[in-house]
Amino acid sequence: MDKFGIVFALVGAVLAALTSGIGSARGVGMAGQAAAGVTTDDPSKFSKVLLLQLLPGTQGIYGLLIGFITMTQIGVMGGNSNISLIKGILYLAACVPVIIVEPISAWYQAKCSCASIDLVSKRPDQFGKAMIFPAMVETYAILALLISILAVFGVSGLSL
């Protein structure tokens, strides 16, 4: 049973990349549809709406980040992969903020991005402000990422 530690840890790492990736793909896809609509009308706004489309994409990167850090810590990418059961579960727990918060925040950020794309299509001069609204949502994705990073590093320092 004690061998199962690595299983739990890897499940955490993989889920982090998985749910975040799904969330971001959905988000960027949704914003992309709005952006394409605006570009049909006015191709010159392409660069602006492209930036707004990409904003919900960062969550996927945060998921990748946590997945990668966890995998290097548990020795899947080389090194010592002998992890106790309790430590494995702790790694999984450390990934939970990212697993849950990233896809949800990506979804809401995408909605915000769509609204901002609409804003830019009507008032291109207000691009600076339009960018800030989706960025506000991202704060919570970052906070979840932060806790997961600290937790993963914290768990690897424990001698359990």
Binding site: L64, I132, A135, M136, L143, L150
Partner: protein
């Protein structure tokens, strides 16, 4: 580092000089014309309505624009990817005049282009119609009489179609059934497909009615009527179709022949826009029968120049006055090379309102640093700085806003390079990966000048919070500076000094706790005597806030409650500081993704094939990483500036100084040539 001072200007000149005076103002680009609204126009001075002339110019500009679009569709302009950086083409005054003289021909060309385009569209619409006619005739090609042939003197002829494929026997059978007793009739099948059968029926005149009746019952339909026989008709239609295609080709050829007029058309767009703008200004001026008045705002630094240039050449009076307290004076920012790239950033939030300072300089002090921490890779920084720097250098004619943006990214790149070396990141851990995989020297690596954030996340977090605290304190300081400048000394103590005392006290107090310093990886907690001092500072600050936070209320009870609420604002500071953790998160994201790509590339080892794969993955991966993270760093640096930093002192609300000038799209006219 300043909002440029403005003066009100008042010019009174003779109407005969109206054109040159206005053109002078337009070229100087220093005056925003704005007549104060007068309750009632007096008998002497009134505004002239020039909207008709203006509409005409706008229509002309529109026409030229449409013609240009038609030309661009047929003959796309050769544009390189970077052509948007080239800016507007400069032309001299002589060239300008030559172009102006050509304007009638240009407008003729524009109208001709639009007419050609319309003709072309009509032509293209006729093509499918003709094609359909040809298709409809196809089943009848074997028939050698005109389709509307009705018969001879004694006979009647019916031509037409029946649905589906019908055999000759069936037709005779059904004719017998529906028109019994008619014997003198002859039926020929011209052609038959699964869908329809084309028939020719001839009968004696006396039986015509009976046959027609029978045919109607069988669902007989008339063919497309033609006076020539089908083969002849079809040939004619085909010729017509060829003619249409020929015509389209000719029309397109003619449209293409206008390619050399493209520049003239562009000029026409600009020229008529300019004229329209001038007439818009003229409509806003008060004029009498002999004189006209110009009122507006001028940059104080250029007032002398304006006065000299106008009074030396024309009979005019130019007066300046300082704008009144209540006036909403337009704002123009001017900064040195270090801070001027921040002007668009500030402007896209809001320009400084009344009594506010231009924040560009203090924004710049942190902007490049914050960006640098988030992007944090020396190689990426060098690429960003060099690419943007070269673009700015190469395209000297670039539009101002684009130039500022690229300069900003260039400086941000420098900041990134510095932090990249401090954190030991050069294309992530590429130095170590390359040395290990290809040269088997795992000992070689780029060691950080300061620390590796991935190895010391808590220390890095503490560093980010410290940067954040400094950023917020500077913002608070800017608020204090504005109070002092506006001589609101008491407000500076109540709203700024009190918070400094409280916040610094709290931070010091935190540092006396061993739990906190251990967590943050700091050396040792502060001594308890320092803690006492910190406690006293914090208490003094808190008391000032409680007593004076609600000082606008007369009622003491209400005032204290409001003060307590103001003290609750400390939770806002807490969340503001926490928000700077994004510096750590985004910084790590850049580094870790770079590492992922390096690792992926090096997986195939040091064979030739492995080297090729490494180069490919390295190139694609790092370009992708740069694009994603430049965007992230840019957005979040703006967010920290707008939300956390500006939240402390800056409201904005000023309106932009928009001088009467030449707002063209394609050309700018060089003065004094």
């Amino acid at each position: 580092m300043a909002v440029l001072p403005m003066k009100r200007v008042f010019i009174c000149a003779l109407k005969k000089d109206r054109k040159p005076v206005l053109e002078l103002l337009q070229r100087m680009q220093a005056v925003q014309i704005e007549s104060r609204d007068v309750e009632k126009e007096d008998e002497l001075f009134s505004k002239q309505d020039k909207s008709e002339a203006r509409a005409l110019f706008e229509r002309n500009s529109q026409t030229a624009q449409t013609a240009l679009a038609i030309l661009d569709k047929r003959v796309p302009e050769n544009k390189s990817l970077l052509s948007s950086l080239e800016g507007r083409k400069a032309i001299s005054v002589t060239e300008y005049e030559a172009m102006v003289n050509k304007r009638d021909q240009t407008m003729d060309a524009a109208n001709r282009l639009i007419a050609l385009d319309r003709e072309c569209a009509e032509n293209n619409a006729a093509v499918p119609k003709t094609e359909a006619q040809i298709v409809a005739l196809e089943p009848w090609l074997a028939y050698d009489l005109p389709l509307n042939f009705a018969g001879t003197g004694k006979t009647t002829v019916f031509t037409g179609t029946l649905q589906n494929e019908v055999s000759l026997e069936t037709i005779y059978e059904r004719l017998n059934e529906f028109a019994p007793g008619v014997e003198d009739r002859e039926v020929r099948i011209i052609s038959s497909t699964q869908e329809q059968t084309c028939l020719f029926i001839i009968c004696a005149n006396k039986d015509a009615e009976a046959i027609q009746d029978a045919l109607r019952k069988m669902g007989f339909a008339k063919p497309p009527l033609t006076s020539a026989n089908p083969a002849e008709e079809s040939r004619k239609l085909k010729e017509e179709l060829d003619g249409l295609h020929e015509n389209t080709k000719k029309l397109e050829e003619e449209i293409r022949s206008f390619e050399n007029r493209r520049d003239d058309l562009k000029f026409a767009v600009d020229y008529f826009t300019m004229r329209a703008e001038k007439y818009e200004v003229i409509s806003g001026l008060y004029q009498s029968s002999r004189v006209f008045l110009v009122e507006g705002y001028i940059l104080a630094s250029r007032s002398q120049e304006l006065e000299n240039r106008i009074t030396s050449a024309y009979d005019a009076v130019v007066e300046f006055s300082d704008p009144g307290e209540e006036e909403d004076v337009p704002v123009l920012l001017k900064n040195n090379a270090f801070a001027s790239p921040m002007e668009p950033v500030v402007e896209s939030y809001s320009l400084p309102g009344k009594g506010e300072i231009d924040p560009s300089f203090i924004v710049a002090c942190f902007y490049y640093i914050l960006f640098g921490i988030m992007f944090s890779d020396a190689a990426y920084g060098i690429i960003l700085a060099v690419v943007c720097g070269l673009l700015v250098k190469k395209y000297t004619n670039m539009e101002d806003s684009m130039k500022k943006l690229l300069t900003m990214f260039c400086y941000c790149g420098i900041g990134t390079t510095i932090f990249g070396f401090l954190f030991g990141s050069f294309f992530g851990d590429s130095v170590n990966v390359i040395a290990t995989t290809f040269f088997h020297r795992p000992d070689i690596k780029l060691s950080p000048l300061w620390m590796d954030p991935l190895a010391n996340p808590m220390k890095m977090l503490a560093f980010c919070f410290t940067i954040g605290l400094i950023h917020l304190f500077v913002g608070l300081g800017a608020k204090g500076y504005m109070y002092l400048k506006n001589r609101q000394y008491a407000d500076a103590v109540y709203d700024v000094l009190s918070w400094y005392l409280l916040l610094i006290g709290c931070v010091l107090l935190l540092n006396t706790s061993k739990v906190f310093t251990d967590m943050m990886g700091m050396a040792a907690p502060l001594s308890s005597s320092a803690g006492t001092v910190a406690k006293i500072m914090a208490i003094i600050g808190a008391v000032i806030i409680i007593l004076f936070g609600g000082r606008e209320s007369k009622n003491w009870f209400k005032r204290l409650l409001k003060g307590l609420y103001a003290l609750y604002g400390i939770s806002g500071y807490l969340s503001d500081v926490l928000s700077y953790s994004r510096l750590l998160a985004l910084g790590l994201a850049t580094g870790v993704i770079a590492q992922v790509f390096n690792k992926m590339g090096s997986m195939l080892g040091s064979s030739i094939f492995g080297v090729l794969v490494f180069i490919l993955v390295f190139l694609i991966g790092h370009i992708l990483n740069i694009l994603i993270n430049v965007l992230g760093a840019y957005v979040h640096t703006n967010r920290l500036t707008y939300v956390e930093f500006f939240g402390k002192f800056y409201n904005g609300g000023g309106r932009k100084f928009q001088p009467f000038a030449v707002h063209t799209k394609y050309y700018k006219i060089k003065e004094d040539i």
